[in-house]
Symmetry: C2
Subunit: 435 residues, 2 copies
C-alpha cells in the first residue's frame, strides 16, 4: 500500500519534516523542479513565532500569525502535505516512521526547529509556561487573565501578589518583548479592566543569567533596551539564576519571587528525531557540514534551529534565529538542484542582516552591522520588517489593523479566555470567600 | 466575608447571570443609575452568536466575534463582573450559589440564554457537534479540516465518504447559513487544498423535520433560500426526522446518511437554573409575566432565550432570537428604574424588526413586515446589519476586512486546526496504510 497514501512518482522523493521558516523556504525554492516533495508537520499551519508574544498579551489574534501550509503551496505540483508527527528514522533503509504510518524517502530534510530547554529542571518544566506554539501562547493569554479574575476573589495579600506577579526567565528577544508587552498591559489596560485591584501589586520580573539583556546584541542596544524596560516598570534581574519553582514562588540565587506565572524563555534545544546517529548530535542538535548534510551521511540534511553547523570561524554555529533558517532553506534547495544535475554543492554562508527587538510603544533597538540605534525609528522599522515577513495578504492586513488600533487606542483588545488554562497547582479552596 | 469579594454598597444589588444580548443590553441601560450591578458569566467575553457559523467555516477569526465583557462596561460605576458559573438559587433567602462561592442579591435577573436541545437522544448528544459557543465553533472548524486530512490517508471508499460528508440537522438560520458556507468551501476552497481528493465525494446534507427551510420565515423567502442552497449543491431533506447516530451514519426516516460529522442545530432549550420553582417552568424555559418577572415572584426576572412570556395573542411567546433578548433587556432596565422610583412597570411588547438569513455570496433572504426579498441587496443588507451589531470598533474593522478579503479572493483563509478535536469514535487502525 502507498505510504501515507502518497502516490508514487518518477521523481526522487524529498521528505521535509517541519513547516517552519527553514522548511517552507526550502520548498518554495523547489517549485516546479524535478522532485516529489512531501511535507510533514504536527500542525496544518506555519507559525510566525516572532509575534507569538503579541498573541500571549492580547495584542494580536492567533489567526493573523498562523497560515495554512496547504495554502502556501497550493499551486505546487508533485507536492503533498500530511498532518503527521515524525517518530523515528532509519537512515539505512530510508524509512521514516510517523504517527500516521511509515514513509519511504530518497532525500530527508529535518527542519523540526527547536523546543524549550529546561536544562533538566523537572519542576520548572512541569509548572512553567513556554511560548513556542500558538496553543502555548493562547494558554498564556488565558492564564494571565484568569490570574486577574482569581486575584479579585481573594483577600489574602500574598496570594493576590503571587497571582498578579509575572516572572519571565531569559532576556533574549522573546523575554524582553514579552516583558515590555506585559508592562504596557499593566500601565494602560489592566487598571481599567480591574479597578478593584491595586495595580501596584503587579510586578513584572525579567530574570537573566547573563550580565545584560539581549545578550547577543551590542552593548549599546542592550543598555538601551534595559533603560526602556525599567522606564516601563519592568524589574530586570541580571546575573540571576533560577534554582527552583513550586508553582507559587521562584527561587533564585538573589531573591525569591512569588508568582503563579513563570514564563520560561531561557533556552532552546533542538527538536531532534530518534534514529539520527548519536555521533551526529551535540547538545540536542544535529551536527551538519557546510552543505547542511547530517555528519556522516550523503543525502540526509538538517536545516534551521535543529542544525548545528560548526566551522573554524564559528565554533558555536550560526545564531538560532529565523534568518538562519530561511537562508539555510534557500541554500539547500539550490544545492539539491545542483547535486541532481551533477554539479557540486556550494557551502552555506550566513548573511547577518542585523537583529532587533521591540520593548514597547516607540521603543525598539536595532543592530545593523556597525549601526546601533533605538527609539521611534527603530520601532517603526521593527514593525515594517515583521509585517512584510508575515505570510499572506490577509494576515498582514489584519495585523496592521490591530497595530494601528492598539497604537491609537492605547488598548490591547483581545482579552479573551477562550479556553481556560487548567492550573497544575490549584488556588486553595479555603481562600474562596463565603457570604 | 464579602460574597465573591464584592464590596457592600448603599444601592440595591442587581445580580445578572449571563453576558449575552439580554444581559448586556439590560446593564447598558442602567448606566449611572442607583443600583449596584454584579454580572456573572462563564466566559470573560460576550459572544456574537449569529456569526459563529463563519468561525466554524474559516471565514472569520473567533476574536472578531467575541468581546471582553469588562471592556464593554469599563466606565461603569458600582459595576462588578466575575467569571463564575451559577449553580442554584434560593429565592427565599435571596442567595445565589456559584462555583466561586455564594452571592446575595436584592434583584436577580436570569439571562442565561439557551442551550442545544437533543430531545432526549443521548447518542446524538454524545456524538454530534453543536455551535453555541466560540470553543464549539472552533472545535467544528478543527474537525472539518481534520476529516479532510484523514480522508487523504484512507483508501477505503466508504470511510472516506463518511469523512467528507457533513450532515446538518435543523434548517433554521444557523443550519441554513452553515450549510451555505460549507458548500462554498466545497465549491471554491477545498478542491485547491486537497487536489488528491475527489471533491464530488463531499456531500452537504441539510435535514429538517418541517416541510420547509427557515420555518419561521415567509414561504417566499423559504423557497428562495432552498433554491439558493440547491444551487450551491446542498442536499435539502425536508419532512425528515433523525432517528439515531452511531458516529458514522445518521439514521433518518428517509435515508441513511454516512457521516463522521453530525452538526446538531435542530433545537434550543432554556439554559435554566436550579432553584427556580418547577411551577414557573415550561419545556426547560422560565415562565415570566409581561414584565419579565418570574411567575409567582416579585423582584426576580428572566430575560432573553431562557424566558417564556406567554400571552393570549402569543401563546408560544416571542421568537428566541437576539432582537427579543435585546428588547427585553432594555425594557426591564426601564422597568427597574420605574419600580425603584415608585412608578408602575410597563408591559413588554416585542417589535418585530424582520428576519434574515444568508446562504452565500450575493445570496440572502430578508423578511421585513410584508416585504420579502432576496439576492444581492438582501445579502448586502445582511452584512451591514451584522457588522453594525458587532460590539466594538476593532471587531467591526477586522470582520469587514475579512469579508472584503473573502469576497474578492473567493477564499476563506483561516483554515487552522489550532487545537485538534478529539474524536469519540476513532478511525479504525487497520485502515492506516503501511509501506
Amino acid at each position: 500500500m502507498k505510504a501515507l497514501n502518497i502516490p508514487e512518482n518518477k521523481h526522487p522523493r524529498v521528505v521535509v519534516i517541519g513547516g517552519g521558516f527553514a522548511g517552507i523556504n526550502l520548498i518554495k525554492n523547489l517549485k516546479g523542479k524535478p522532485f516529489q516533495i512531501v511535507l510533514l508537520d504536527k500542525h496544518n499551519y506555519h507559525t510566525f513565532q516572532p509575534l507569538l508574544y503579541q498573541v500571549a498579551t492580547a495584542g494580536l489574534e492567533p489567526d493573523s500569525i498562523a497560515y495554512p501550509l496547504r495554502k502556501i503551496f497550493k499551486d505546487f505540483k508533485h507536492f503533498h502535505f500530511r498532518v503527521a508527527t515524525a517518530q523515528s528514522v532509519d537512515l539505512k533503509t530510508k524509512i521514516l516512521l510517523t504517527d500516521r504510518g511509515p514513509l519511504d524517502f530518497d532525500h530527508l530534510i529535518i527542519a523540526t526547529g527547536s523546543d524549550t530547554n529546561y536544562f533538566g529542571n523537572e519542576s520548572v518544566r512541569e509548572l512553567s509556561m513556554s511560548m513556542k506554539t500558538v496553543p502555548e501562547a493562547l494558554n498564556l493569554r488565558s492564564l494571565m487573565l484568569q490570574n486577574f479574575e482569581e486575584a479579585l476573589l481573594t483577600d489574602n495579600y500574598s496570594e493576590r501578589e503571587a497571582l498578579m506577579n509575572f516572572v519571565i526567565v531569559g532576556a533574549g528577544p522573546t523575554g524582553v518583548e514579552l516583558a515590555g508587552a506585559l508592562a504596557e498591559l499593566k500601565n494602560v489596560v489592566l487598571p481599567k479592566d480591574y479597578p478593584d485591584l491595586d495595580i501596584r501589586q503587579m510586578n513584572i520580573h525579567l530574570v537573566e543569567a547573563a550580565g545584560k539583556v539581549l545578550p547577543p546584541m551590542s552593548d549599546e542596544s542592550s543598555a538601551r533596551a534595559q533603560r526602556y524596560l525599567e522606564k516601563l516598570g519592568v524589574q530586570v534581574w541580571l546575573d540571576t539564576m533560577v534554582k527552583d519553582y513550586d508553582g507559587k514562588k521562584v527561587l533564585t540565587n538573589k531573591k525569591d519571587l512569588p508568582t503563579r506565572t513563570l514564563i520560561w524563555a531561557a533556552g532552546v534545544t533542538g527538536n531532534t528525531l530518534e534514529g539520527v546517529p548519536s555521533e551526529s548530535m551535540e547538545k540536542g542538535r544535529i551536527l551538519v557540514d557546510e552543505f547542511n548534510r547530517i555528519k556522516g551521511t550523503e543525502s540526509f540534511f538538517a536545516i534551521g534551529d535543529v542544525a548545528l553547523m560548526k566551522t573554524e570561524q564559528k565554533p558555536k554555529g550560526d545564531p538560532m534565529v529565523a534568518q538562519t533558517a530561511i537562508q539555510q532553506g534557500e541554500t539547500l534547495a539550490k544545492n539539491l538542484l545542483r547535486s541532481s544535475s551533477g554539479k557540486e554543492m556550494k557551502p552555506f554562508h550566513y548573511k547577518d542582516k542585523g537583529s532587533m527587538a521591540t520593548v514597547g510603544r516607540n521603543k525598539a533597538v536595532v543592530d545593523i552591522k556597525k549601526f546601533h540605534f533605538g527609539g521611534l525609528f527603530a520601532w517603526f522599522l521593527w514593525m515594517v520588517v515583521h509585517l512584510v515577513a508575515l505570510v499572506g495578504f490577509r494576515n498582514r492586513a489584519v495585523a496592521l489593523l490591530n497595530w494601528v488600533y492598539n497604537y491609537f487606542s492605547y488598548d490591547k483588545g483581545i482579552r479573551l479566555i477562550i479556553r481556560p488554562w487548567k492550573r497544575k497547582i490549584t488556588i486553595p479552596k479555603e481562600e474562596t470567600p463565603t457570604v
